[in-house]
Symmetry: C2
Subunit: 363 residues, 2 copies
């Protein structure tokens, strides 16, 4: 798919992120890529500059950048940075290979690399560096547009569902906000749009062990003035049983063509609880997250991350009390697959659809 112009209606024209700070998860200046180091948030706001292929690959592997759409854009710029130094066929191949191995589950990474390859492989080496930068910028702008469009479509759904006499209560998991994308988010984009439209919403944010990305969500929602409450991952069913959850919305790392969806570990538990309570459960993601070559969830590779992540204290990824590992066996799968049967609908840049009508999005 070439890069369409991103002429979506824009409900959030001045929604820079983080809202109070005027930063963004990824920005370019000249031929430099600056990222917000998400490993130290929310304690510390620190920018890093990516100058090479290796900088970009390590940023993805170490989760300085995270979130499927942001990983894709970072990888695209990683190719462009690599070609500045070596634009030969071998140089391009090396870049695609190195970046492709950084993280296995989020398909946006592979989607972005495929887009870069398709554009750059036919070109002569001397033409590649400039074209690569342009292509990465086009992908960047496209993902910004996708996130805004997801906000528009999700807002329509909220408007149709919410009872104006009481707050609209939303539960989310992990971080699928501005920090996970290059726009206002995927799962959080409709919530920002609703808040700006004056709808009284409140968001339950599950802390998302073991990497604690819920703390990122809480941080960015609070920056934007959206009322939210941080909870343990374990509290989801309790809140649903109490009647305090009207909607569950999450992002995605890879959607199979039948609608099975890989997302942060713990998502499937929330989907099963929502199903039991008959609460609608939506997945918000750009179409770049759909893996048309993957027929069902079983085929999605699930990343097993370092078990030491289980030692992370809340709210930080940096201080690990390593002696806690001694003698213990720990396991740390990073994603799970929510069966399509448990998903009420998908919110993409093209609108809202059910799992059974997802295939109509394939072009």
């Amino acid at each position: 798919m070439p890069f369409p112009d991103c002429e979506f209606p824009d409900p959030m024209p001045d929604l820079a992120f983080p809202f109070a700070l005027g930063l963004s998860s990824l920005a370019t200046e000249g031929f430099e890529v600056r990222i917000l180091d998400q490993r130290v948030l929310p304690h510390d706001v620190r920018m890093c500059v990516l100058r090479s292929l290796e900088d970009s690959a390590l940023a993805i592997e170490s989760m300085q950048v995270r979130g499927a759409p942001l990983i894709g854009v970072t990888a695209a710029y990683g190719v462009a940075l690599a070609l500045k130094k070596d634009a030969s066929d071998q140089g391009l191949e090396n870049a695609l290979c190195r970046l492709g191995k950084t993280r296995p589950t989020a398909v946006n990474l592979h989607w972005a690399l495929a887009q870069m390859a398709m554009r750059l492989e036919p070109l002569a080496p001397h033409a590649r560096p400039h074209a690569a930068w342009q292509q990465a910028q086009a992908l960047h702008r496209q993902e910004q547009g996708f996130a805004k469009a997801i906000g528009v479509h999700g807002l329509e759904w909220i408007k149709a569902q919410h009872n104006p006499n009481r707050p609209f209560q939303v539960l989310t998991h992990c971080n699928a906000g501005a920090l996970a994308t290059v726009g206002p988010g995927t799962a959080l984009a409709p919530l920002y749009a609703a808040h700006r439209a004056g709808i009284d919403i409140h968001v339950w944010v599950s802390e998302t062990r073991p990497r604690n990305q819920g703390w990122l969500t809480e941080w960015e929602l609070r920056q934007a003035g959206v009322p939210c409450t941080l909870i343990a991952d374990n509290a989801a069913a309790y809140l649903m049983t109490k009647g305090d959850v009207d909607w569950v919305i999450v992002g995605a790392d890879r959607i199979a063509r039948n609608g099975d969806t890989a997302n942060k570990i713990g998502t499937a538990l929330k989907a099963m609880a929502a199903h039991w309570h008959r609460i609608p459960f939506h997945v918000a993601a750009p179409s770049s997250t759909i893996d048309w070559a993957c027929h069902q969830g079983e085929a999605i590779p699930i990343e097993a991350r370092d078990p030491r992540e289980l030692l992370n204290p809340p709210g930080t990824l940096m201080q690990v009390d390593i002696h806690l590992l001694s003698g213990r066996t720990l396991a740390n799968p990073a994603f799970d697959v929510t069966p399509a049967d448990l998903i009420t609908g998908f919110i993409t840049e093209q609108g809202i659809c059910t799992p059974s009508s997802l295939q109509a999005l394939q072009k």
Copy 2:
């Protein structure tokens, strides 16, 4: 109900706890009550002596002792300690009232206090101190017998279910082991019995945020040589989907007469996931955990604990980085209610029954 003799078959006659250390969660010596301070486990093994009503009440409130059966026994000794100083009607009333307010959800506390009241109120004050101690010891022995009997009945179930060609894979939540009782545990008693019977079992232990009681379970299983792996609470559905969970077993804090069961926050999520995957889900508890006056789960009071518990680093309850609270809203419900429809069966000291046949246990 008076105190029956506890003549259960004993599959674990020499199963002292913690197994390698020769300690127990609660022990008496003369008229002194010694407890293992569970707030500092597994980092540190520290005994505390309870000498008064207030010592006992604070030990329960602060979770130096925890787990429904152990809370009940501690409260019974708390009454006995109180009556050593003031055995008047007022003194007895004060003790029952103070201890009754320590924690709201676990019904064993109220059951134990009702047993103490029933025995002590008719007596003259001078006869109460001795009778109170005897009564607390009778309760203590009774709960020990209950836990062992739960192990026997649960072992029969495991024997009938497990495939001898591969490990029997069990998922548990929170700590319902020797640390939560005065015997080998409730949920963990059948697992210890199976391990001793030579059955190849492996236990997935969810860390149980925010108080991290999974680290206690991992610690006591490891002391006993039972193979186990610590996981994030979020990983349960992933393991079930992979086919790596044969059985879910948990303890309980209060069981309503219809079978709805309050247990540690996060239990209901696991029950919903087990239901989706058609994996049997059992609740192990002594009959002292059944609240016959409570008709259904909605009536069970759910404790809201200090939100600062969300700041607990893994594996400890002691180091809280308090500035993380700044500006944030946090919520910390400590229990949830698993609907009876999701429970395959209850394992009590009297055997295994379904939710619909639970009422036959009422005497």
